[in-house]
Each structure stands twice: as structure tokens, then as C-alpha cells.
């Protein structure tokens, strides 16, 4: 009885403390969401009155936000394309081939994730400054790809490892050519992973701050750099609205990744069932 009571209080204490820690993680985000609709965008919480002014102010004349948003979107799109090209080829090399110096290549891929971003940013600044490329969206995108491509490679390695090679062997044994196998088996199965890699590359670039700050010029400022500037130099209350939109964006992206994963698992399962495998591998079979 004594023992039972002891563990019960222990359990309640653990639950309370764990809840507090979860609040510690979640509250800053909740507070931003609430404040973005608040009459008083500075500090006061909870708000006294509600407004949409900060959202309207984003698109008012002279607002810097639309330009920053479109630059970030452009840079992130470019960086996503670069990361996918690098990611698909690198993952193929690392998973599906006999690569000399395999572990050295893998260590190189992990490098940018482990080394302080400020050091990478400084190095890229030293590379692009003499080339007079500061402020160029291409330069910023190339820089972001250094951070985004390793993530894409890791996701695609996991994707390729998860694909049952027997499906490819089965198709080959039934006479499907290399291209047919790639088009009808490997690509459809890898597609969810590729979409996930694209989404994560996009977020990585869209949120990237250190490299952007070093490679920006006065006229080309990405969204995170504009947020930072608004928090340090100028007082711009619409930064709460931008922040709320960024939160919504992150949640949406994560939701998409979860959805794509879920669809992907179903697809492999249905392919692994016998009838479908036969259908796929049969010449001219259009079951996929």
C-alpha cells in the first residue's frame, strides 16, 4: 500500500513536471499566434482587444514584407531544385552502388549539419564577396543548398533503403528493362521520399538565417533577415503577423510530410501483394 502511494505521487509529479516542460516548448508559439491578433502588439498579454491590423499592414504601401517574402520563396525554390538533384544522385550512389571511399563521402555529406552555420556562412561570404555576388538570389540559394542538401540526402537514403529490392528483381526477372523498372517501380516508390525531401529542403532554405544575413545586400533581404532586423533595429508590429504566418507554414509543411509518408506506406504494401507485383512486371502491365 505504502509502495503504491509512493509510485502514484511519483507518477503525478512526473506528469506535472513533463506538462510544464511541454508548455515551455509550446507557449512561445501560442503567445505569438494570440499576439498577432492583439490590439497591443508589444508585450501585454493576454490582449485587451482584437484586430487584424498587423496582417493588413503587411501589404500596405512601403511595406518591406512582400519583397522579402518573394525573395525567400524564390531562393527556397531554387535551393529545393539543387538539393533534389544532389540528393537523388548522392543517395543512389551511397545506397545502390559500390562506391569507393563511401564513408568519406558520407562524412562530407554530414559535415554541413555538424559545423556551426556561422562558420559556413563566413566561408561562403569569403567565396561570394570577391565574385561580387552578394545579394544575388542564386548565390543565396547556392549557399542554402549546402545546408539543405545533406538533409535531402539523408531522407532519400532512408527512402531507398526502405524500398524492397525484391520488387525490382521481380520486375527484372520478368523481363522489364532498366528504364521500365526505374519508371514503374523505383520512382513511384521513391516519390513520397522525394516529396518529403523537397519539403524539408524548402523549409530549411526558407528559414535559414546565418547564410542569408552574410550573403544579403541592402536591397535583397530574405524573410528571416527582415524579421531579425525588425526585432533589432526598427519597431514594426506587423512582425507578429509574419511570425504567425511562418508558424502556420511550418505546421502545414509538417502535415504535408506526414500525409505523403502515410500514402507512401500504403503504396509499397499494395505493391508487395502478389497480384500487383505480377501485374507490374508483366509486359505492358499498367497496374501501378
Amino acid at each position: 500500500m505504502m509502495e503504491l502511494r509512493k509510485t502514484l505521487t511519483g507518477r503525478i509529479a512526473l506528469t506535472v513536471v513533463a506538462t510544464l516542460i511541454l508548455l515551455f516548448l509550446a507557449l512561445p508559439i501560442v503567445v505569438i499566434l494570440v499576439t498577432s491578433f492583439s490590439n497591443n502588439a508589444f508585450a501585454a498579454f493576454p490582449p485587451e482587444a482584437w484586430t487584424l491590423n498587423w496582417y493588413r499592414a503587411l501589404f500596405a504601401d512601403g511595406s518591406k514584407w512582400p519583397a522579402a517574402l518573394s525573395l525567400s520563396a524564390l531562393v527556397a525554390a531554387l535551393s529545393t531544385v539543387f538539393s533534389l538533384i544532389i540528393g537523388v544522385t548522392a543517395a543512389t550512389a551511397l545506397v545502390r552502388s559500390e562506391l569507393p571511399l563511401r564513408s568519406a563521402v558520407f562524412a562530407l555529406v554530414l559535415g554541413p549539419l555538424l559545423i556551426p552555420q556561422i562558420v559556413t556562412a563566413l566561408g561562403l561570404f569569403l567565396l561570394f564577396e570577391p565574385a561580387a555576388m552578394l545579394g544575388s538570389p542564386i548565390a543565396i540559394a547556392l549557399g542554402h543548398t549546402v545546408l539543405a542538401s545533406p538533409i535531402a540526402v539523408l531522407i532519400l537514403i532512408a527512402t531507398l533503403r526502405g524500398i524492397d529490392e525484391r520488387l525490382e528483381d521481380a520486375a527484372a526477372s520478368m523481363g522489364a528493362g532498366r528504364l521500365t523498372i526505374a519508371r514503374k517501380i523505383t520512382f513511384p516508390l521513391a516519390a513520397p521520399g522525394m516529396i518529403a525531401a523537397a519539403i524539408f529542403s524548402f523549409i530549411t532554405s526558407f528559414d535559414e538565417f546565418y547564410i542569408s544575413q552574410f550573403l544579403s545586400s541592402v536591397d535583397t533581404v530574405t524573410l528571416p533577415v527582415q524579421v531579425y532586423n525588425s526585432l533589432t533595429f526598427e519597431i514594426d508590429p506587423s512582425v507578429t503577423a509574419v511570425s504567425a504566418i511562418l508558424i502556420a507554414f511550418a505546421v502545414l509543411a509538417l502535415g504535408l510530410v506526414a500525409l505523403v509518408r502515410w500514402i507512401g506506406t500504403g503504396r509499397q504494401e499494395s505493391l508487395l501483394s502478389v497480384e500487383n507485383t505480377v501485374g507490374v512486371a508483366a509486359p505492358g502491365g499498367e497496374t501501378v
Binding site: L99, L122, S149, V239
Partner: protein, 296 residues
């Protein structure tokens, strides 16, 4: 050529096949290797070169001497101190939270993990701004604690604010790492200890803790390393006494046009990080050998 070499082509000489797979590997590895050599390795190498050069191009250690004296040295100590405080706090919070999550039913555990993962993908700038709003004189925290003596408390623009902020940035990493480690503990070992008459405290201290210790060490080291090069939160939530190396590098480049000095700071940061990573590697290999011994 490609058309004839289908994967299922029967009875190809093994050696030819192997060399073909090697050629494919090299070809496909080329983009990532070239990209990272040009845009990652070379820039870091040129940082190193720059840190060893004087204005006239001759070799010097002047910039390192400069980086390790006076104000710059105290910035280095501040960086190490704030990173250590952050690492300890995120390790303690991470341990408690991961421990609590492993005891939850799957549905609740999933929800709790969502609360851990979602903030991780929200921009650090946004979360920092959330903290600034929360910790202000009239923010949520001070309003909640209004009844307490001495309120409102100064929670911003000092080290307390910085450590609160950076800890919340590092916490998702430690929780995810520790949750993985805790899930990997073989429950049969705990049951075996219990069947031999060990009490809860003994099992925790003599079986569980040694099993998760390498994971704890790696998680702590990782949050320490990640904090070293960080400055978004310290710059926005700290005062002049919380300047960290990364901020200094940024100032030297953007304000003072002092690239050599910035490069030396960058190399020092890099060396500290690599030392930390080496420690992580040693710790995790110790952990692997311990696991093997326990299982036998």
C-alpha cells in the same frame, strides 16, 4: 549499351558487373562531392588561410593572439559558459520529458511528441520573439507571477533570458535523442534485476542509468556544440554581457570589415566544435561496447 545491361541479365561475369556498379557509384556521387568541395570545404579552407594572413599577405598568428586576449577572450568564455548552462538545462528537462513520454500510452505519447517536434520546425527567430513577448515586464510570465514578492522580475536582456531562450531551442534535440535511447533499453535487463531482488532505486541507479549514460552524454555534448555557434537568441534576448562568438564574427565582418579577425574566431569555433564531436564519438563507442558486454 545501357539497354543490354539490364539488372536481370543472366550470367554476366561478376567482375564486370562489380566495376560497372563502381562506375555508376562514382558518377552519381560526383554532384554532391563537387558541390560540397566548392561551396563547403573550399570556403572553410580559405577561412583558415585568411586567419593566418596579415594585411600584407605574410604569415601571422596575430589574429589568434587577438582572439584570445581582452574582450575577445571574455566573449569566448561567455560563449562556453552559456553553452554549458544551456546543455545542462536541456539535458535535465530532456531527460524528465523523455522519461515521462516513454511511460505514456501511445496516443498521448504521440501527442506529446508532436508538441516537441512542431516547435522544432518553427523558425528560431519566431520562437525567440515569442519568448521576448512572454518574458517582458508585462508579459505572460510576470503577469502570472504578479502576486510574488519582487515582481515584476527582470527576465530579459540578461543571462537568465538568454539561457531560457537557448534551452528551449536545444530541448527538442535532446528530447528526441533521449527518447530514442530510452526506447532502446532492453526491458528484460530491468526485469532480470528485479527478479533478483533489486529495488526500484537500485535498478535505476545500477542498471538503467549506466545503460542510458552514453546517450545522456552525447545529447548533452550535442546541445553544447550546437549552442556554441548560435546567436539569434543571445543577440535578441541578451544584453552586452551575453555577446557570443558568432555575434562577434558577424560584427567583425559586417561592421568593422575585419575579415582576418572574424576568420580566426571562426576557426576557433570550428576547433571547439570538432573537439566536441570527437568526444561524442568516443562516448558513443564506449556505449556500444558496454551494451555488448551487458547483453552477453
Amino acid at each position: 549499351m545501357a539497354a543490354t545491361l539490364t539488372a536481370g541479365a543472366p550470367a554476366r561475369p561478376r567482375k564486370l558487373l562489380a566495376s560497372r556498379r563502381t562506375r555508376v557509384g562514382i558518377l552519381y556521387a560526383l554532384p554532391v562531392v563537387v558541390y560540397l568541395l566548392v561551396l563547403f570545404v573550399y570556403p572553410i579552407f580559405s577561412t583558415l588561410v585568411l586567419s593566418l594572413k596579415d594585411a600584407d599577405g605574410s604569415f601571422t598568428l596575430h589574429w589568434y593572439a587577438d582572439a584570445l586576449t581582452g574582450v575577445n577572450l571574455s566573449v569566448l568564455f561567455t560563449t562556453l559558459r552559456i553553452s554549458a548552462e544551456t546543455a545542462v538545462l536541456s539535458l535535465v528537462f530532456g531527460f524528465v520529458l523523455a522519461q515521462a513520454i516513454t511511460r505514456l500510452k501511445p496516443v498521448w505519447a504521440g501527442l506529446a511528441m508532436l508538441v516537441v517536434v512542431v516547435p522544432h520546425f518553427v523558425s528560431a527567430l519566431v520562437r525567440t520573439y515569442g519568448w521576448i513577448i512572454m518574458l517582458g515586464d508585462k508579459g505572460l510570465v510576470n503577469e502570472t507571477l504578479a502576486w510574488a514578492p519582487g515582481a515584476p522580475y527582470q527576465l530579459l536582456y540578461n543571462e537568465l533570458g538568454v539561457v531560457i531562450g537557448t534551452t528551449s531551442m536545444m530541448l527538442p534535440y535532446t528530447v528526441l535523442l533521449l527518447y530514442g535511447v530510452m526506447r532502446g533499453v532492453d526491458r528484460r535487463l530491468l526485469a532480470a534485476a528485479s527478479s533478483m531482488g533489486a529495488g526500484k532505486v537500485t535498478i535505476f541507479r545500477r542498471v538503467y542509468l549506466p545503460l542510458v549514460a552514453p546517450g545522456l552524454a552525447s545529447a548533452g555534448l550535442l546541445s553544447f556544440i550546437l549552442s556554441l555557434g548560435y546567436y539569434i537568441t543571445p543577440a535578441l534576448m541578451g544584453g552586452p554581457n551575453q555577446t557570443m562568438i558568432a555575434t562577434l564574427i558577424n560584427q567583425q565582418v559586417t561592421k568593422e570589415n575585419q575579415w582576418n579577425g572574424a576568420a580566426a574566431q571562426g576557426v576557433i569555433l570550428l576547433v571547439l566544435t570538432l573537439a566536441g564531436l570527437l568526444l561524442v564519438k568516443v562516448v558513443s563507442s564506449l556505449g556500444a561496447s558496454r551494451k555488448k558486454r551487458n547483453a552477453s
